[in-house]
């Protein structure tokens, strides 16, 4: 049978998928099932959990960690790790806030400078890993300690640097109006669907079916409904009228979707993304195929730290300040956890941008749901740690299963 016109049917798609799951390529399945299970458990144990108010809360709470996780995926794809990403975000956030406070920089200039600081830090770590060959674990562990020191020095005696800039604060605290939210939903969703449709039609023309149309339809129908439901819930009233009225999509959703789109495009559609997967899968093969492995490695750290800088801005926005512990504590572990729970492999070569969002939602749901049920922080850490270990085990076992 000519493989280009390999006939697809619902049945063959299903058997292929089951075979893939069996061979260890489980993708987003655990995260989606976990999210469903957690959703159901918390829904029945807490009246507040699945409310309009809590959904918005969940998103704004988890946004910075999700953004760090998105950046980490670039590094994890190579089988490397960036333990310093949390404090990179702290240092970048502090740079931005200090520039706004002490030097009266406009917010966008301060933000761009903080991005430059972030990418420079990433560049330094990337060079140490790629050129000198120091294991990334050691490079970034040293950076973790050093950046924590830098952050302490920047915060100085006062400890916490307050932020008043209303544009930055708005990102995590303000919302689109309900009408704007619906307009955004319709525009974004149709753009996404039209792009997908164009791909299907082009594939047909070239006689290459990348995916069965029915499957595409089903997948996108589910996505459309879920996104619609989320928009509807976010448009619900979560203030206390008449004193205060809070409704609509948090602005940070736009930031998250924008980054998700940009990251996915880079990973799936460009040469650079393809090379990230190749180097993560077999660095020697990539080198022999003429890929500049040193460049790819360095750039992965640069991008990771760039994302961390954006997360730093979100941290500053969310708490109106930067403290010496911003980006510390559980931040990095939650971000790594989000990526791994979402389906990104710690061994490199496997992972997608959406893993950060799905896994980030799982981590945030555990955190948020258990908090609502009144469990202590100790129990929450214990459970989150267990879930991370579980997904890392699934990752390791599936890798074994895939080995021929």
């Amino acid at each position: 049978m000519n493989s280009a016109v390999h006939e697809l049917s619902m049945r063959s798609v299903a058997t292929d998928y089951i075979a893939r799951v069996k061979s260890g390529d489980i993708g987003a399945l655990p995260a989606i099932l976990g999210l469903l299970a957690l959703g159901i458990i918390f829904k029945f144990s807490s009246d507040y959990f699945l409310t309009d108010r809590n959904l918005a809360n969940l998103i704004t709470q988890s946004a910075p960690v999700m953004v760090i996780a998105m950046g980490l995926i670039f590094v994890l794809l190579l089988g490397e790790i960036d333990l310093a990403a949390g404090f990179t975000s702290g240092v970048c956030g502090a740079s931005m806030v200090l520039l706004i406070n002490n030097h009266k920089f406009p917010w966008y200039v301060a933000f761009i400078v903080s991005m430059i600081v972030g990418t420079a830090l990433g560049f330094a770590m990337g060079l140490l890993r790629a050129r000198l060959g120091i294991p990334s674990f050691v490079v970034t562990l040293s950076a973790f300690l050093a950046f924590q020191g830098v952050l302490l020095l920047m915060a100085g005696e006062g400890g916490t640097i307050p932020l008043q800039d209303r544009f930055i604060v708005a990102v995590e605290n303000n919302n689109l109006s309900p009408t704007q939210s619906w307009i955004f939903y319709v525009v974004a969703m149709s753009a996404y669907l039209l792009y997908g449709l164009r791909r299907v039609i082009r594939g047909r023309k070239a006689n290459v079916k990348l995916e069965l149309f029915k499957v595409w339809l089903l997948r996108n129908a589910i996505l459309t409904v879920l996104a619609g439901a989320a928009t509807y819930m976010l448009n619900g009233q979560r203030g206390n009228p008449p004193q205060s009225s809070i409704k609509g999509m948090p602005i940070v959703v736009l930031v998250l979707l924008g980054l998700l789109f940009a990251g996915t495009f880079t990973l799936q559609k460009t040469k650079f993304g393809r090379y990230l997967y190749a180097v993560g899968g077999n660095a020697e093969a990539a080198r022999r195929a003429g890929i500049n492995v040193t460049y790819i490695r360095t750039m992965a750290f640069v991008i990771c730290s760039g994302f961390a800088a954006i997360a730093g801005m979100l941290f500053a926005s969310r708490s109106n300040s930067i403290s010496p512990t911003t980006g510390g504590g559980t931040t990095l572990l939650y971000a790594v956890g989000a990526a791994v729970i979402g389906g990104t492999s710690l061994f490199g070569g496997r992972g997608k941008m959406r893993d950060a969002v799905l896994g980030g939602l799982v981590v945030a749901t555990i955190d948020n749901g258990m908090g609502l049920l009144g469990f202590s922080s100790g129990t929450q850490y214990l459970v989150t740690g267990g879930v991370l270990l579980l997904s890392a085990s699934v990752d390791a076992i599936s890798r074994k299963g895939a080995a021929v």
Partner: protein, 251 residues
């Protein structure tokens, strides 16, 4: 007999005090399989690395398609149309067949990868080699058998209108049925007009597909013979002692 597409004359290569290749002459012909045989340490790998541009010979001449050429790095070899399939195949397990075949040479429209075009070309190449063993060319390589992986690596080498393909022990890790498949594929490459250099330890394989046999003995090419003129025991003698009664005298 037509002129060889690749012709080496008086190739020398040493590593420090070790003289690995001594005045080696070697020819490969379009449409023919030339087997390079020899014991461990005879210099087979060094010789192909000189052709592939990984090592540069200290002295000697390389003629490709009738013109004298200098092959100083792998890119020079690729530019001439010389492709090597190494024993470890150099495939990325996590990428699919098409992605592996185009690795490092992706087709793009603007900055976006052109998947349909790459997929069509990959399918055409596999069809040209009459490969029917893979179910879908979008399968990831980790799900393929050893023989299928070898097939993908070979298909990648011929995707670029290459003229000379060097295969390093392509059947070493394969079972009986898969060895058979790969040997058929090797034969088909030559029948499609490519020059093939096959490195092998296995004389059964050599006698099954090769038109010429070039035995290396301690860094010297004993004599390049036509497969039909020699017996297996004569080739074994050439490999182990460097000479054999009844075969053209060694130099």
């Amino acid at each position: 007999m037509s002129d060889p597409i690749l012709s080496l004359r008086g190739i020398n290569k040493s590593f420090g005090p070790v003289h690995v290749l001594k005045d080696v002459d070697f020819d490969a012909y379009a449409g023919k399989v030339t087997a390079l045989v020899g014991d461990n340490g005879a210099g087979k790998s060094t010789l192909i690395k000189c052709i592939a541009g990984i090592y540069v010979a200290e002295s000697g001449e390389i003629t490709f398609e009738g013109k004298k050429v200098e092959i100083e790095n792998p890119r020079d070899a690729t530019a001439l149309g010389i492709e090597v399939v190494y024993q470890d195949l150099a495939l990325c397990d996590n990428l699919d067949i098409v992605q592996n075949m185009f690795l490092g040479r992706e087709e793009r429209t603007g900055i976006v990868l052109n998947e349909p075009s790459m997929e069509t070309l990959a399918a055409k190449t596999l069809d040209g080699l009459s490969v029917r063993t893979v179910k879908s060319i979008r399968q990831v390589v980790s799900s393929l058998s050893g023989g299928q992986r070898q097939t993908v690596a070979i298909a990648r080498a011929v995707l670029w209108n290459s003229k000379l393909v060097i295969l390093d022990e392509p059947t070493a890790a394969l079972g009986v049925a898969q060895t058979e498949q790969v040997l058929k594929l090797v034969r088909r490459l030559a029948d499609n007009g490519l020059a093939v250099i096959l490195i092998s330890h296995n004389l059964n394989d050599v006698f099954a597909v090769a038109d010429y046999i070039a035995p290396l003995y301690l860094g010297t090419m004993t004599t390049q013979v036509q497969t039909k003129d020699v017996s297996a025991s004569q080739v074994v003698e050439l490999i182990t002692t460097g000479k054999s009664a009844g075969v053209g005298a060694s130099k």
